[in-house]
Structures are given as C-alpha cells and as structure tokens.
C-alpha cells in the first residue's frame, strides 16, 4: 500500500477526492454542515485558538471550511489548495474533540477534521513520520517494525534481567487462559525496555495472572487513526482482539 501512496496527478485528483468523499458523506456530516449556526461557541474551547492569542482563524468552525468548499467545487481543487488544507488539519488541530463537546448542536468538528485527514491520506498527503509508521504497521503489525523474533528475544532478556532482582519473575508469552493480556507502546521494546521490566515487576508482586502475545497485536498504539487510514487502523485493533480471543484472556490491558 505504501508504494501506491504517491501524490496523485492533478487530473486524477478530482476523481480521487470525490471517490473518497461520496461514500463517506453520511447524514451526520451533511447535517452538520447545514446546521452550523456560526455561533462561534467553539472558539474558546480550542487550545490552538487560546494559545495563539485568540486568533480567529483558529476557531474550529473555521478550520473545517474546506470540507464544504471542496464539495461545492466537486473536488476541483489543486495541490496548493490541498497544501493549505494540510497545514490547517495537521498543524492547527490535533483532534482532541473538545470543540465537539461544547457545540450546542453536537457537531463533531474533530471528526470532520479526521475526514479531511483521510481525504488527504487517500491522495498521498501524509506527514512523513506517520506514513512510515503506517507502513510499519502494515508490514509487522507494530509501529516500530519490530519482528516477532526481536519481540520475543526482547521479552526473554527482560525476563532474565528482572528475575535477578525478583526471583521467580516470569514474563509469560502466549499463556492461554490468562486473566490479562498486556499490550504496550511499540517504543517500549525498541527504546524503553525498562518500562516492560517495571510492569513485569508490578505484575509479579501483585500476583497477577498475565501474558503477552507473541504474534501481531501486542502494540497498543494506533497511529493509523491519526491519518484516518481506517483500514489499517481497523486491522491494528483487530489483531489485538484476535490474540485476546485466541488466548482466551478475560481482559486486555494497555500500557497508557
């Protein structure tokens, strides 16, 4: 999929954009665009607005103007236009959804930003770091492209090291019927294995019945959501649930 994420040529842009938007323009999006009363109550709910000296261009209702505009133009927009969209939806919003909480009509402005992110993703406009992460998820099931062998090896030496401190400590892998399946931020095995060791100690001292899965599904993060790559986001979440079902655990715990 990552190879296909080349920037669409201008001739194809229009059709790619409408192809993306048409099936997703549901009743809610259409209604929200119609009934926004431009009341401005969303303004001081937004931390971007407040921290930029109450800059009017940062108000949530203004930031999603592109959606209506693109639809009105039936997708006939060019790359410089989409770059303006990119700037707003990636640098002026982090989809915290606070604006959505305060809108009297329940307009989910953050979800509309997410839709725009998905739109840009569909034409290949994605921040580099996130593009890389998404490609990693697709390849290895985790954000950091850690192979199954590396994952297991990391857990094994974490167990060795920690067992020196706390005799009998185990880091169970693929323990069927355990109570808890624990999932971590992929940064932990890669950069902060001490976090895994700390949790192992806590589980051990608490006498908790837990396990890690060996296969894809141990990464608790889902950066694909940030670019609204719904398909990848879905498979990331699905992996975790599949492992939990296979192992027959009662609960999934996440690191954050």
């Amino acid at each position: 999929m990552s190879e296909e994420k080349q920037l669409a040529t201008e001739e194809h842009l229009e059709s790619r954009i409408m192809e993306f938007l048409k099936p997703r323009m549901g009743a809610r999006f259409k209604t929200w665009m119609k009934i926004c009363a431009h009341c401005g109550l969303c303004s001081d709910t937004c931390h971007f607005y407040l921290s930029n000296g109450k800059e009017p261009k940062m108000i949530p209702s203004y930031k999603i103007r592109f959606l209506k505009d693109i639809l009105r133009k039936k997708g006939k927009v060019d790359k410089p236009y989409l770059q303006e969209v990119y700037k707003t939806i990636y640098h002026e919003c982090n989809m915290c959804r606070r604006c959505s909480l305060y809108c009297p009509f329940g307009i989910d402005i953050a979800m509309m930003i997410s839709l725009l992110r998905g739109l840009l993703t569909s034409v290949g406009m994605v921040p580099d770091g996130l593009a890389k992460a998404v490609a990693n998820y697709q390849e290895s099931g985790n954000q950091m492209a850690i192979t199954k062998e590396d994952w297991i090896e990391t857990l094994e030496w974490c167990e060795e090291e920690t067992a020196e401190e706390l005799a009998g400590l185990k880091i169970p892998i693929d323990k069927k019927g355990a109570k808890i399946m624990y999932t971590v931020n992929a940064r932990e095995p890669k950069f902060y294995p001490q976090d895994i060791m700390e949790m192992a100690k806590i589980f051990h001292v608490a006498g908790e019945d837990w396990t890690f899965p060996s296969e894809k599904g141990w990464d608790a993060t889902n950066l694909a959501m940030f670019v609204n790559d719904a398909q990848t986001a879905k498979s990331i979440a699905e992996n975790t649930f599949k492992r939990a079902e296979e192992l027959g655990v009662k609960q999934i715990a996440i690191t954050e």
Partner: protein, 221 residues
C-alpha cells in the same frame, strides 16, 4: 383575487406546506441516508443517551451555560420568545379560530406578547452586533447569517407595528403593514427547510446521533 388575497390564501398554504413538508423531508432524508452511511448510530442506538442529551441541551443544564453564561441564557430567552409569541398570541389564535380548522387554544396576555416581542428584537440586535463586532464570529459569518437574523426579526417587528399602529401614518408601509407582516412570516417559513433554520428539527437528530457515541465512550453529552 388581489395580492392580499393571494398572500393570505395560496401563498399561505404554500408557505406552511413548504415549511412542514420541507422539514419532514429533512428528517426523512436524515434517517434514510444514515441508514446507509451512518449505520453505527443504529448499531449502538441508546434511548438513554438520546433523551439525556436532548434534555440537557433543550434546557440549560449543559457545559455551554457554565462556560458562556450570558450568550447561552440570552439564546434560550430568544428561542422561548420566538416560539411562544407566534403560537400563543391572541391575534394569531383568532385567525386559527376563524379558519376552516376552527382550532382554538388559550392565549397569553397581549402585554406579555408585547414584552416578549421587544425582548426578542433586542436580542436580535445583540446577535447582529455580536456578529459584526466579535472577530471570530465575524470571520465565520456568511451573508445568510446576517440575512436570517433580519428575516427572523421582521415578523416580530412588523407584528409590533401592526398591533400598535406605530407606522400607520407612514404612507405605503403604514397602509400595508398587515400584508408586510404576513409576507415576512411567510418568508421565514419558506426559508426554514433550506437554511440553518432547519436546526429547528435537525438539532434533535444531530444531538442524538452524537450522544449515542459520546455517551458510550463516557464523554459528557
């Protein structure tokens, strides 16, 4: 048939039908499209969240009241006046009684209708000024926002002039205030299904749909 007869006859029918059928169509369209493209609403449907959210936002028991007390209270008062006067003003009820439907219900005292009209007009001016003066609101305002404020205020303004004879001596306007008042009301009715005034029905659907997700996630609804 002169123009007046047209305004109180066919045009009146058209206005009401467009308003009622148009609003109904908006609701039907919402349910139809959402059944195809917003299936999550139905998969996770919850009367508890839908009713709770509508209750909290129809009445002042929500986050916005605490955060923006003046604006929200003013908006509530505005909407109360907007709905109460046209329906419970004695002058309108008489017309319903005289119509072929012969519907009748009790009215509010005329002085109350007067006060509510004045208050509403004051609030319209407040909204207008706010829209012009506040930089954020001005930035997102469209021509429609300004026009609809005028369209909404006009029936009340002309209604007041009509019942108090304020402009009776002012030539053409004075002679035709009844007609002007009726036309202004019809204009508003006609515009409701096609503009943001449709929030009159769509509020409930949007609020409900959002609360179905937010309630489930434990957000405030």
């Amino acid at each position: 048939m002169d123009f007046y007869d047209f305004a109180v006859g066919p045009l009146l029918w058209i206005s009401f039908l467009v308003f009622l059928i148009g609003s109904l169509l908006r609701v039907v369209l919402f349910f139809y499209v959402s059944s195809q493209k917003d299936k999550a609403i139905y998969r996770y449907f919850s009367w508890k969240y839908v009713l709770a959210t509508i209750g909290r936002w129809l009445f002042p028991f929500n986050k916005d009241v605490a955060k923006n007390p003046i604006f929200t209270i003013v908006a509530y008062v505005f909407h109360i006046c907007l709905l109460v006067v046209p329906i419970w003003f004695s002058g309108h009820i008489s017309l319903w009684e005289e119509s072929r439907l012969e519907w009748s219900w009790s009215s509010i005292p005329d002085s109350l209708a007067d006060w509510m009209t004045i208050i509403l007009l004051g609030i319209v001016i407040f909204f207008l000024l706010r829209r012009i003066i506040s930089p954020e609101v001005r930035l997102i305002s469209t021509a429609s926002d300004y026009l609809l404020l005028v369209v909404t205020g006009l029936p009340f303004l002309t209604g007041y002039f009509l019942t108090h004879g304020t402009l009776d001596s002012v030539g053409f306007i004075g002679d035709n205030m009844m007609l002007i008042h009726i036309l202004s009301g019809e204009l508003m009715l006609l515009l409701i299904p096609f503009t943001k005034l449709s929030h009159f029905v769509l509020f409930f659907l949007s609020r409900g749909a959002t609360a179905i997700e937010f309630g489930r996630r434990g957000y405030s609804i």
